[in-house]
Symmetry: C2
Subunit: 597 residues, 2 copies
């Protein structure tokens, strides 16, 4: 069995205390594996019992460029490369991941329950599209009140424009964003200002361009078919090397990059029938790391199975994930807010399902889903609120629309405010998508910069096919066109305009309320009541904690509606009314779209 | 969500209290489904919301022959047919499964812990190869001392000769064996004499000939690839109908055929990522049935995952299976007894692994398996002994050898006795394979009677390819040749010969000892100790229960070996010595191959 040292990276090229390069390339079925330096010098490697080709040498120095030869002119970048300064097809750069002047020893990760998340895409968050430019916005984010940024994947992808899910070097940090040094510097800056960093990682597939893993070893299996072709090999022959590759990846981000949490993409597409699921194995290793370092790290998953086995504790035979996204809360909220019931929205009826999601997190927890054409989900009654991440939009829900419209261009200003409140008063972890806090009108479109023309064309076509269910009109913007990328960038100068400024202040106030009010801050799912009036399209969310009570009155209709507040020994005191003129609303006291009292 | 009535069969053709036929054919994507009677009369069906085509009619009577038309000349037998009197391609026969004069109301299923299993194949167990002929052997089996027969699959398969794993009508009982009436009669006879009936069922694939399920609905999915092609659809779109098909199948065997337990074939090949695994759903329904009827039924699985999630209780997030086969005990025992370490045996080192299996059931519970080329299994420390079925041979371990040799022709008479004891003194449920109790020398070969010549040829070729790992010599017997089937039959007249008679008496004595001795009978895994001496090839298994202790001394070497018995307040008393002359052994008291003291 391959042991994993939690204290240091073992794969690829690493440097020991004596400054020697320790090399380990997993290629169990290859006959001859060598390192080739940029100056053509070759370094012989020797295979160990587990299929790792190894050496310890002074010939490779920090900063050297190298590739790996598998014989017969098969020369590729290192699968565990940390830096690809020339992109996915170019040389790997030898990096000492332990070399960085960390200055965040006073930083303590926040309790998960306190997280207010903010999802962003490095390339479009700023004009420059870099980690350095992102750092310039941290004080803005701090002012907004969020305390955890969730960075869309930064693993090296083809070209300079990509959401990140086409990454092919899980260990390498995108060169155009600023590479590994840039990411570390950003994490340091976040910790300085009191913001946690969540990194989005993709362990369910590899991108289509620059994916050389298959040449090195059995990273893939044909036992399972996925939307992206053969599945990553987590349970077939030789899977130990593949599993270690991803376990060490998690450990590197936490240990060497001081990342606070991972958001693991679409773990339902990880096919693993091993007795120990890879996510469980990852959690076991992270527990060891945390015990050794005293730092706290969270594992959050994107999960489309409504199966709380993933988030149940290890000692309850779960996989031990700390949290998961709940897309269903989003779908229910969006339909309640007027979204057309087509495609996957067709399963959601609006208010009833929104109320269910407030109470049960999962909307489908054992019912028949007409869209999925099967019975779906189980109950997650005993999982605390902090295990669920909710949102009114995210990169997928915006960007997977043909025209990438944000909520800002789809619903009224009043409805935007109501949706924001619906998320921020929930008993779950709220997540914003970059720009929603000031009602950014630019779309967030799907964009790529594949260099292979056939592939680029295939992406264009695939994009079109995807929209059959949505019956949208017009042409999908060309994902390969640089303009599509540019149009997806945030327009920071809009914050100077009153309407946008107001929205920002509104979000700021809501986030502040959430942090201050005990009944909002404590995510106790049992101290919660939801009442709806379908005819009026109103929802009353009542939450409490010890003596404190909060009532959230939501009116999703287009006109004023009466609301009967539950009687209570003390009188209700209004904390916030989103429809009031201070928030550019049109409402009188009785004429409100949403209120927290 | 489709509800399942545990009280009666709903699929196919059934008869209500008024004698009307109630028809339900699942064909959710078909446009026009009709019943066609043998006399060409057609009966219209109407589709319900869940894709079941239904009617209630007096036009179909018990005994009528019918097929199902899907339009366009697509006319097939009923997927839920209980009787195929003309084979897999012919008419289905309308059967009232509730019509049988049961006379076993005094029968109570045995506690699982008390089971002594006996696996048999109906077609080769007797010369006639029928349930009726099998009944003639029940008093013999009763005398032997086994109390549960495990019948290899009886679901209708192509032709008359098949192990049963090529069945294509999970509800139909093989016509050449005696059909559904014959099976019920057999169960009745078993219960009369005090023997439980375990039925082997196949829910992981369908046979290659006569498999019309795909024409009716999405019974298969291309999400997963199995050794037998596309997997059965347990978690893809439309899976509800498929899941119900198998859930109702389990219920029918228990409720309408009074089967005591199922042995579910190769459940590791059931691919199901639903939040509720199909086995868990089956268990939930069986629990309801047992509560309603007051009868007890067990679910035992063949499982090659070493994952106790399958056998853990429902309330511990397990799938709730009552037991599982442990092939690894067999492999360890066989290697200890001299089996060549090739193929899957290569992972087993003999004595050390046999000792591990006595203690831990699973040999691989987290170690790297060179044969599987991956780390395999988890610990099953808290699962009671009654959850594990062990054996020194079974239909697979015999029949999957190229020449189908039983242990009787591979090891000495002395070693056969030792292997029998190794199984029968284990803290697990022992299982015999038909004929081993009298040292039957005939092989149990692989045989089929597919009528499609191309398919027959493919089976021949596949059979040859399978033996690459075994490096056996010579030609594989032709599975399609009727001689191969005939040669696999038991030779009952051998029981007249002294050596065979002696073996029978030896088994009988061992089984009797197991039932009588508290330390053997109670399957407490914590009250057990194993010591081995690798040099001498001896193993001491010490088991106890309250004040009773049993010591089993096993000598796997070819010569006498010393054995130091643990000192004990009372002296050890010899209960049985397999090497003594009474068992046709050559041993003096010191010169023994195996002893239970």
């Amino acid at each position: 069995m391959i042991q994993t040292d939690i204290n240091r990276r073992s794969l690829g090229v690493n440097f020991n205390e004596r400054g020697e390069a320790e090399v380990a390339i997993w290629a169990p079925l290859q006959e001859n594996v060598e390192i080739i330096l940029q100056d053509k010098q070759t370094i012989k490697l020797t295979k160990d019992d587990f299929g790792y080709w190894k050496t310890c040498t002074k010939e490779i120095k920090v900063g050297d460029l190298y590739k790996v030869s598998l014989g017969d002119d098969k020369v590729f970048p290192d699968p565990a490369s940390v830096s690809q300064p020339e992109g996915v097809h170019g040389f790997s750069k030898a990096v000492d991941v332990q070399q960085f002047k960390w200055n965040d020893s006073n930083w303590n990760n926040l309790p998960l329950e306190d997280y207010v998340l903010y999802e962003l895409h490095t390339g479009t968050f700023t004009t420059e599209g870099t980690f350095a430019a992102l750092e310039g916005k941290l004080s803005y984010l701090k002012e907004l009140g969020i305390n955890a940024i969730e960075i869309m994947p930064v693993s090296q992808f083809p070209g300079g424009r990509n959401w990140g899910y086409d990454g092919v070097f899980p260990y390498a940090v995108q060169n155009t964003y600023g590479g590994p040094e840039g990411l570390k510097h950003l994490v340091q800056a976040c910790h300085d200002i009191g913001i946690a960093v969540i990194l989005d990682v993709v362990y369910n597939h590899m991108g289509p361009e620059g994916n050389y893993l298959g040449a090195f070893g059995p990273y893939f299996t044909d036992k399972y078919n996925t939307p992206w072709g053969n599945a990553i090999n987590f349970d077939d022959e030789w899977c130990d090397g593949v599993r270690k590759y991803f376990v060490e990846n998690v450990l590197m981000w936490f240990r060497d990059f001081h990342i606070d949490a991972l958001r693991m993409d679409a773990v339902h597409a990880i096919k693993d029938f091993s007795a120990t699921h890879i996510l469980r194995e990852i959690k076991q290793h992270v527990n060891k790391l945390m015990a050794a370092t005293g730092r706290t790290h969270y594992l959050i998953v994107e999960l489309d199975l409504n199966d709380n086995r993933f988030i149940n504790p290890l000692d309850q035979q779960g996989f031990g994930m700390d949290g998961q996204w709940v897309d269903e809360f989003h779908h229910a909220l969006r339909v309640t807010a007027g979204e057309e019931r087509s495609g996957y929205y067709s399963d959601f009826n609006g208010l009833v399902h929104l109320a269910k999601s407030y109470k049960d997190a999962y909307v489908f927890d054992g019912q028949y889903s007409p869209h999925r054409k099967k019975t779906f989900g189980i109950k997650a009654d005993n999982n605390p609120g902090k295990q669920f991440v909710v949102f009114s939009q995210n990169h997928d829900q915006v960007g997977n629309r043909m025209l990438g419209e944000r909520t800002s261009t789809l619903v009224s200003f009043e409805m935007q405010k109501l949706m924001a409140a619906a998320v921020l008063v929930s008993p779950y972890l709220p997540m914003l998508f970059m720009g929603e806090e000031y009602s950014e009108p630019h779309p967030f479109l799907y964009f790529v910069s594949h260099t292979d023309p056939e592939l680029a064309d295939a992406v264009r076509k695939g994009r079109k096919a995807e929209f059959a269910a949505f019956h949208s009109q017009g042409e999908a913007p060309d994902p390969v066109d640089e303009k599509t990328f540019e149009e997806s960038k945030l327009q920071w100068d809009l914050l100077q305009q009153p309407q946008h400024k107001t929205m920002f202040e509104y979000y700021k106030t809501l986030i502040s309320l959430r942090k201050q009010e005990p009944a909002l801050k404590h995510l106790n799912r049992n101290q919660l009541n939801v009442e709806i009036n379908e005819q009026n399209q109103t929802l009353l969310l009542h939450r409490w904690h010890e003596g404190d009570h909060i009532l959230c009155v939501m009116n999703f209709s287009k006109s004023p509606q009466p609301a009967t507040l539950p009687t209570f020994k003390n009188e209700w005191k209004k904390l916030l009314n989103s429809a009031e003129s201070i928030w550019n609303g049109l409402a009188t006291a009785e004429d409100r779209n949403g209120a927290v009292v």
